[in-house]
Symmetry: C2
């Protein structure tokens, strides 16, 4: 089926460990979002799927002027987008070998797609966000952990077992901090939210400058840098340097035209983008950085939902 | 044009800083190679191109039973395979903005392709060598320097400025040895031929074990390891470990199904493949290495020529 000329939409589902967000997406914009479902409040897959289907039908019914023609779901972890089966979920009870794509397809009548959440977000930024129209895009998302996605030669690249884009697991120090898989030097063990706060405490404890009052978070540390706090400025330089180091290796390998950086930490703006750019510039030859754009993500926390819907739509219309 | 059913061939040219090798390739095999041309013996591009065309015609004339239907050239450095223009060559006089592809196409009447040499080699290993039939392939070539090439989703991946695959420039140590571009920790400054010999000398000087007699080279150090020399064994473990560390980062990023390791150093066999495998295994989650094949290159020093010819053929028949 090709993209219809008449107005249409797609349903996006952003399935997280805490909430499931469901909305209607048209041309990369969210038309309506339903109140999120509480992922942990359902005893296993069948009741949560029932609730998801109910919300999908509710949002479709509310917009007869924009008929949905596809559906997409973004999920955490390793997602088998070929089979559409959820093999397991780390933090959600009762999800084992659930043929989620086919179940949703059957119950909603919409051609459906299943994708990893970081890949959905990357897809959204490429199709409708900060990397629109670009050909070779590296997306990274900074948060509790660090995720990523790749668009290569104008297509989402998934890897051989749907695992590509694990930038948070790449090592910035062969003998450094152990990652989730025992992998020494994993980037996310240096630039994840908790690690940023921990490092800030170390730096404040070692320095002359007192720590800011109240609970410390990447957000308060951004504010501190904006106020000119030298420890916070040095902190963001170090964090940006780590990210820039890892990205410089990716740049040598993939020679991308665009790097999109998203997630809460990316809101530190130039405090983090500055060191990232100068690290890449100092570590790569000019051919690799002269035309390289390093930009903040545009779609924020809606990226997963928009990307899932867009993937569903693009696959249905391929 | 689609691939003809009748017997046919393609001409491959492997253009190096020392010699230019020209041969006829059919179905991934070299039918005949001409005596190599001495790259440095020609005063600039026009006379060398004349000699190349002469050899192309000679090898075609010798095999009327296998008419050539395409031509491909592999060249060192950054190669603009879209325009077919050689912008400059580091070690060869008189090559500035030479429209080599179009010149060869016009003078031989064969549809022609121009490609980087490491990418040509990778292409050959994928189409006819160690990674035949695989989908996501990382090739690295160990020698004086370290080069690489990527096949992703069953296609040669070139990057935005034809620069992708520079694995030798990727850093294995943020503050380590400076690479060719001042890039600290560049892999090739640890595992290039000269660096291997230098490191061996250090290790022999520091240890109790005497160095082997005669001139030291990666080849003699392989022989030493085979004889059970503990210093040589430790050396290869360290070299393999460095390569494995860098590859583990690539594995997290690209989730390939196959890694092909070629070049002289790869002949150290299990002395180097063993540490590479165990490093990847210790640094990546099982999903990433359980089905991953790590294999030696098959086509040896002919890979560049075979790959260039095959690229020419595939592009002409696309």
């Amino acid at each position: 089926m090709s993209i219809p000329a008449t107005p249409h939409s797609a349903v996006g589902i952003d399935f997280g460990g805490t909430t499931v967000k469901i909305g209607l997406v048209a041309d990369g914009c969210i038309i309506e979002k339903r109140p999120p479902l509480d992922t942990q409040a359902y005893a296993g897959a069948p009741p949560l799927i029932n609730a998801m289907v109910r919300e999908v039908e509710a949002v479709r019914a509310a917009h007869p002027e924009l008929p949905a023609i596809a559906l997409g779901v973004g999920m955490p972890g390793l997602v088998d987008s070929d089979s559409g089966i959820v093999h397991s979920l780390t933090n959600v009870r009762g999800w084992k070998e659930v043929a989620l794509r086919d179940i949703l397809q059957q119950r909603t009548g919409l051609p459906s797609a299943l994708e990893n959440d970081a890949k959905s977000m990357s897809y959204a930024e490429w199709r409708h966000g900060a990397a629109k129209g670009k050909r070779n895009v590296v997306c990274i998302t900074l948060g509790t952990g660090v995720g990523g996605g790749l668009i290569l030669d104008g297509r989402l690249y998934r890897g051989s077992n749907f695992g590509a884009g694990e930038v948070g697991q790449m090592s910035v120090d062969p003998g450094g901090n152990a990652g989730h898989y025992g992998n020494l030097g994993a980037l996310e063990k240096y630039v994840g939210n908790a690690q940023i706060v921990e490092r800030a405490m170390e730096m404040y404890a070692a320095g002359l400058q007192g720590a800011p009052e109240g609970e410390m978070s990447p957000f308060t540390l951004q504010k501190a840098a904006q106020r000119g706090d030298p420890v916070a400025i040095a902190l963001w330089k170090e964090i940006g340097g780590r990210i820039g180091f890892m990205l410089s290796n990716i740049v040598w390998l993939l020679n991308p035209d665009t790097i999109v950086i998203g997630g809460g930490v990316a809101k530190a703006g130039e405090w983090i983008f500055g060191p990232v750019r100068s690290e890449i510039k100092s570590r790569c030859s000019p051919v690799f950085w002269q035309k390289l754009e390093i930009v903040p993500a545009k779609l924020g926390s809606d990226a997963g939902l928009i990307g899932a819907a867009t993937l569903g739509l693009d696959q249905a219309c391929a």
